[in-house]
């Protein structure tokens, strides 16, 4: 009897492989968080040692400004603005579960589960729609 029970059934290869896929997808979450955390930490360290563009112009005691949109963040990244780097890390963090959902779509499609391919696709569409909505509301 196996410890921490995985039920011992007849090995069903398709199910086993879709389970392996699922496990792989789940590790996306963990790696995504680790990467994001590192980028955020990097940005914060740079911020303390270099200050960002606003603080240089206005002095550290002034309210530090930060990029307020995706476009501004990308521009900030070009000049290696630390607060833009921090924002990139935050954006990566937000993207991680979204990426996970997208991977599930592929996994369901690959295992021939049409219903859940559609359901998961719907979730992804909603996620993206929300972000677009927010952009307009800013």
């Amino acid at each position: 009897m196996k410890r921490h029970g995985k039920p011992s059934r007849q090995p069903h290869t398709k199910e086993d492989s879709s389970r392996r896929t699922e496990l792989m997808i789940s590790s996306i979450l963990r790696y995504g968080v680790t990467l994001s955390a590192m980028v955020i930490a990097l940005g914060m360290i740079l911020l303390f040692f270099r200050g960002n563009s606003a603080s240089k112009a206005l002095g550290m005691s002034a309210v530090l400004q930060y990029p307020h949109s995706l476009g501004a963040m990308l521009r900030g990244l070009q000049s290696l603005d630390p607060s833009a780097i921090v924002e990139l890390g935050l954006a990566l963090l937000i993207a991680t579960p979204v990426l996970r959902v997208a991977s599930s779509i592929v996994a369901f499609a690959w295992s021939g589960d049409r219903l859940y391919t559609i359901i998961t696709l719907l979730v992804l569409i909603l996620l993206v729609a929300g972000m677009v909505l927010g952009y307009g509301a800013g």
């Binding site: 921490h4 029970g5 995985k6 039920p7 699922e22 496990l23 789940s26 590790s27 979450l29 963990r30 995504g32 968080v33 994001s36 955390a37 955020i40 930490a41 940005g43 914060m44 303390f48 550290m60 005691s61 309210v63 530090l64 930060y66 307020h68 949109s69 995706l70 607060s83 921090v86 924002e87 890390g89 935050l90 954006a91 963090l93 937000i94 993207a95 991680t96 579960p97 979204v98 996970r100 959902v101 599930s104 219903l115 859940y116 359901i119 998961t120 719907l122 979730v123 909603l126 996620l127 729609a129 929300g130 972000m131 677009v132 909505l133 927010g134 952009y135 509301a137 800013g138």
Partner: protein, 296 residues
């Protein structure tokens, strides 16, 4: 270098580590603790606080979610199907937070907070009066006739292996529409208040849809990250995520829950849990008062 912003940064970091530790110890989301601290004691705008908190929720839940899938406890189909409703709720909530009066937000937060304390107090009470809850009747009979039509249609029924019972338990879901409705509310709370709404999700799955508690908890943890990402995406594109607040909070809560999960269970005793519960109840009351316009 000691500008007020640097002080605020380290303060946020320290508080977040504590919140992450307490949260993982008590089974509460860190968001429940960190948002009141930021808004009540540090004077941070509610939207900024909620935005920072929701980032932290993504970080902590994503880190843990992999384990639940690995243990075959989380039901991914159920999770994905219900995500439709939580994400819709999260979008509604995140859009509403720009419109609603701050006092209403405090009131709602207090209500959700005090409601979420119930399962935690239940856990503490059970330690005083140990009474193992028997598995539900429906769980033990494989092929029970009480299958909900929608659950069958969507292949939501499943099985899992429970090591404590030493058998494979089949389960069937019921009242799926009601469960979906509660999931919408859970998403609403998440987008509006910057919390994970794990308590609501478990309520929907465990009490309403009759999924075994271990699977409900695991699936809830699996879902929280996606719901939070929905809210966070909106906050982000609206510019409500202040990196100087969100970064220390996210890193702090992540570190705190990591430490909490590893070290504290060995040290903490039942009285410490009661103490934390009292502190959080106190904070809940303060949020309530602030919602009613009283500032202490």
């Amino acid at each position: 270098m000691m500008s007020p912003l640097v002080i605020q940064f380290f303060l946020l970091l320290g508080v977040s580590v504590l919140a992450g530790g307490i949260g993982s110890l008590m089974g509460l989301g860190g968001g429940m603790i960190i948002v009141p601290v930021m808004t009540l004691f540090m004077g941070i705008d509610f939207r900024i606080a909620a935005g920072a908190s929701i980032i932290a929720v993504i970080a902590t839940s994503s880190g843990a979610a992999a384990a639940y899938v690995r243990d075959r406890l989380a039901n991914i189909r159920v999770g994905m199907f219900l995500e439709i409703f939580t994400v819709l709720g999260a979008i509604s909530g995140a859009m509403l937070v720009g419109i609603l009066n701050a006092r209403v937000l405090y009131l709602l937060f207090a209500l959700v907070m005090l409601y979420s304390l119930l399962p935690t107090s239940g856990k503490i009470l059970r330690e005083f009066r140990p009474r193992p809850s028997p598995p539900r009747e429906a769980d033990l009979s494989a092929g029970s006739v009480r299958t909900d039509k929608i659950a069958r249609l969507l292949s939501l029924d499943d099985e899992y292996y429970d090591p404590t019972l030493d058998k494979t338990v089949f389960y069937h879901l019921r009242r799926v529409p009601l469960g979906a409705g509660i999931m919408y509310m859970a998403g609403l709370a998440s987008g509006l208040l910057g919390i994970g709404s794990g308590a609501f999700k478990v309520l929907a799955m465990d009490s309403v849809m009759e999924m075994p508690i271990k699977c409900s908890t695991a699936t809830s943890n699996f879902m929280i990250g996606v719901t939070a990402a929905a809210s966070a995406g909106i906050y982000f594109s609206r510019g409500d995520i202040d990196p100087f607040v969100a970064a220390p909070v996210a890193l702090g809560v992540l570190a705190g829950s990591f430490i909490g999960a590893r070290l504290l269970p060995k040290i903490a005793g039942i009285w410490i849990r009661i103490g934390f519960l009292a502190v959080i109840a106190l904070i809940g009351v303060q949020m309530l008062l602030k919602g009613c316009g009283v500032s202490l």
